[in-house]
Structures are given as C-alpha cells and as structure tokens.
Symmetry: C2
Subunit: 320 residues, 2 copies
C-alpha cells in the first residue's frame, strides 16, 4: 500500500474523464452524460471523434427512453487527444483502452503522474488483473477495476476489485460513487480471473460450444433454448433464488436435499463441487437472507409478475 | 418402432389430459385452460384437488395479464382420480408425475393400454430418458418427452425428444401441436442428459457452487451478478447472437478470432473444446442464419430496445 487514499465526496463528482472511443468507452461517456455529468472523452487520435459521437447518439435513444437526469445533455461532452488536459479537471477517470497489458501499463504510468492522487481511476478491463495494470503506476492506491457489462449504458452491473497495491478505501469509494451514479456495483472479495459474472457467462458459452461441437445442438438451438427458457427468469432473479422458489415451501433446503444428487449426473461438462454440509448451509443461509420477510407465495407472485412484465414488454417491441 | 403413428390434426385438439397435481402438472393445466382447451386433471388422490386449484388460481392472474384465448375459463377444468376416465376422451396427454422411473414405467404401461394409440403422450420429465420411461409401454411409438420450463404457464420453451421406440412422426406432431398451443418447441437431435437448456443452466449453477465453496462469492453476489449483468440480455438474445453483436461489424468471425484465445483462460472451471476450423465455421454460419438480413446497426438497436423495455417493465413492477 503506497498511498492513504482520501477521496472527494462521491456525491460531489461533476467532471468525468472517459478514456477510449470504442463501444465501452463511448457507452460509459453516454451513460455519465445521461446522468448529468460533464464528460471529457480522451481519444487516442482526433479522427476517432465522429465514431465516438455516433456510438453516443445511438446510446442516447435508449437513455432518453429510460429517463435522463436533470440538465443531462450531449452538449456536456468535450473531446480531446491531450491526456494531460483530459486528466487535469477530472473528479473521476473511467479507463476503457484496448485490452493490451503493455498499453495499459504505460497508460497507468502516465495517469499516475497526470491525475491528482485523490482521484480514483477505474479500469473497464474484462480480462486483465489490476495488480498487473498498476505495476508501473507511481500512485497505484487509487487504481481499481470497474468492469461494466455491455452495453454499459443499459446493464447496471459493475464488478469492482482492486490490485495488490490498491487502497481498500478507494475500492469503497468506487462502490459508493457508482451507486450515486445509478449503477449496480458488486465488490469482489479478491481478484479471480473473469470476475463473477463473466465466469458464469463463460460456463454457459463453453457448454454451448461443446454441444455445437458434438452436434447435439445448433447455434440456433442454443439461443432459442436460453431466450425461451431460463433467460427471462435470469433478467429478474438469479439461480439461487430461483432454486429457493423451486423448492416450494421448503425453499433451498428442500431443493438441495431433493436435487443434490443430480449434481453427480452428467447434466453439463462442468463437474460440480461436493455438496458438503458447509456448502449446503451457505446456500440456505444466503437465500434466507435474500428472501428476507417474503414467504414462498410472495416470492412466487413476484417472479410471475416480473415474467409477465418482461413478456408483455418484449411482445410490444416485437409487434412494432 | 412398434407403431406407425397417425395422429389427429394438431389444430383439432380440444380435450387435454394433464397428469399430476404438483407445480408442473398444475402449471400445464392452467396454461392449456388459458389457451381455451378443456382440461381433465388426473389426480393420484382426490384430496389433491384443493392444492391443484390453488396453484391454477395463482397462475391464472398471470395468464389473464398475458391475455386469455376466446372461451378460456377455469370452469373448463375437470378433476378425476380415475385414470381410465381421464385417458378416454383425451386428444393429448401431458404427464407430470413425480420423477421416479419405476412409477413412470408402471404409469406408461397403463397409459399404453388406456389411451387410444393415435394420441400422443408427452412427459414433462426433466431428468429421465424416454427410452427408459417407455420400456414397459405396449404402444411406445407415441410417447415423447415434452419438457417445459418452470413456470410452464409463463416460460415458452418445451424441449422435445423421443426414446428409442418413439415414432419420428409423433415427435413432429408434438412440435406442431405445441406451436398451435402457443409454446416454443425445440426438437432435440437425440437424447442427451439434461437436454439443452438444463445443461446450460446447470453449467451456471455448478460454476456458482464452486465460487461459493471457494469463498470467492456469496449467494447474494451470484444472483446480483446475473440479474444486473448477463440476465436481462439472455431474456431476449442468446449467447451466440450476443457475441455476434459483440464483434461489431465483423460479427461472430471477428469475435472468435479476437477472443478465441480467451477460451484457454481459467474464466470458468469448465474446460472449453478446441476452437477448430469446423467449430468456427458452424458458429459463423449459425449466427449468420440467425441475423438474416439484419445488419449490425439493426441488431444493436433491437438489443437496446429490448433491454430498455425489460428495464422499464421491471422498474414499473418494483415501484408498485
């Protein structure tokens, strides 16, 4: 730990520097503009500006449909190819440069000098570890991974994790800031490859690739199965709460005791861990915490209402 | 093949026999009633009727919100514990008895005698194979797996697969009938454990269990990550088309060439298959077929519109 981080109040952030003109960098810029922030986009080359603005214009249609913050406007976007200028006035930096570790290390060495050291720098990286990214930065305490889901202007999740030299206070600051900015931050306990959501997504993708390789399913079969089966449920309820409801009045405990043995069945190429008493307990306690005061009938009704809303909403779109 | 199946016109089905009073049996009964069919529910014991009716009443709230077919009414439900009576007038049988292979074998032996042999009998089984279920049935040609997703009255998917003695014509009949009845049928190329959707779902679940076991994520983290990350996308677009869009103008080919090496990274406990030229080609051809005439910008816009609709719909529910 080389710094003792002392950031500004997350509610006082006004100016955000977004690095990168690709779909992620542009997506973040559009999102922050829609939330009413001033955004300075740093472009590697000035000729990237038209493509950046076109991506932002597309995102804006959706952001308007979701509702803009007071004073939000694309006019609050400023583009520059001068990193020092982009960095100078930023209250927060969201970096979405290409996924190249050497490129990022050089960039963080520069940012470490140019950005005042009480300002948090978040990386959108999906595959690199902050410990590596920050290795040449002189002020690494405030550098944190803030990994969004594509498109960043529509999916709320941001996974947050520090590197070895990251100050835990900066991690908490970032979670607080994203919350103020309307995102759904998830702080990881430690660096794991692929974070949490990408690991889950990658498990689906790899199982799908096995089925397509073995001629058990076509590309269309895979997508059709997801969209018409578990997909709509996952838009509103994760796998744990889903199984909790699947267990009826008996909840997760009943579900595990009933279907636990199925973990040994070849229902996926992924081997399951042993369902130890400890794991059983964690699952039951965790879903109990999630369910809170809601009994089975209430959770069941909430799930159904959500699914009806999703189906009706998608049908309206499709019939337009 | 012991029969040469010659079914009635799927559009002429009027009377449906639903076997089973649990959430799946009741869910099917509610769904078919809402589609305007007459339903005879076979109950193992007459005292199951109140619980069956309570499950149907709950489902009905959602089915009304989605829109009932003309003439649809819960009054068209008839309950009986006389299997011969339930079977006699059925134009179609949906069996959702407990997942016990011996119980199902005995049941199919009886159904094989009681149900006229031009009538299809579909099993809701999620874990058993039709080859085993039909082994004691004298007329197995018309017995087929028709595996729904829970709740069957809200999720459209039904996975269809025959056993060794199933007539392919009966499989096609079942797909045609489910389509007429408003479901989304998916015919599998062959029997594989867990079918397609459950295999994908199970891959997520097992990866989640590993993370919870290793203290890398809590139960709440898993659900939070899905619901705020890939979940909403999966409600409207499968993983293949998602990556096709993720590849921008270059589509799936660009995506595979760029991110293919990531399959070797430890982003999930599930090992990926080799990305052979054949697999690459299948993925590109399959997503091309799915995309049809839609270019990148159109697909991108459709995805965004769907996500906005889902988010607004869920927000409306949550604010009630």
């Amino acid at each position: 730990m080389t710094t003792s981080f002392n950031g500004i109040n997350p509610s006082n952030v006004k100016n955000i520097c977004c690095i990168g003109a690709g779909p992620i960098g542009a997506g973040w810029a559009a999102y922050f503009l829609a939330q009413g922030y001033n955004v300075t986009s740093y472009l590697h080359a000035p000729n990237e500006e038209p493509s950046l603005r076109s991506l932002i214009d597309t995102a804006w249609l959706s952001l308007e449909a979701l509702g803009l913050a007071e004073g939000a406007s694309i006019k609050n976007l400023h583009c520059t190819s001068d990193l020092a200028e982009a960095a100078r006035t930023a209250d927060f930096v969201q970096e979405s440069a290409p996924e190249d570790i050497q490129l990022k290390q050089v960039l963080y060495e520069k940012l470490g000098r140019l950005v005042p050291d009480h300002i948090v720098i978040a990386s959108s990286t999906s595959g690199l570890q902050m410990t590596d990214i920050q290795s040449q930065c002189q002020t690494p305490g405030r550098t944190v991974v803030g990994h969004p889901f594509n498109p960043p202007y529509l999916l709320p999740l941001v996974e947050i994790v520090g590197g070895e030299a990251t100050d835990p206070v900066a991690i908490q600051w970032l979670a607080d800031f994203y919350k103020v900015a309307g995102k759904a931050p998830l702080v990881l306990k430690r660096e794991i490859p692929g974070f949490i959501a990408t690991r889950l997504q990658e498990a689906v993708w790899r199982e799908a690739l096995h089925m397509i390789t073995n001629d058990e399913a076509t590309v269309e079969d895979i997508d059709f199965a997801i969209v018409n089966g578990p997909g709509p449920r996952w838009a509103m309820m994760g796998p744990c709460l889903t199984y909790h409801i699947g267990g009826g009045e008996g909840g997760m405990a009943y579900c595990l005791d009933q279907f636990g043995p199925a973990l040994k069945l070849p229902w996926s190429r992924l081997e399951a861990p042993d369902l130890t008493p400890e794991l059983r307990e964690r699952l039951i306690e965790g879903t109990d915490r999630q369910a809170g005061d809601s009994d089975y009938a209430t959770l069941n009704r909430q799930r159904d209402q959500g699914l009806v809303a999703i189906r009706n909403a998608l049908e309206e779109i499709n019939s337009e």
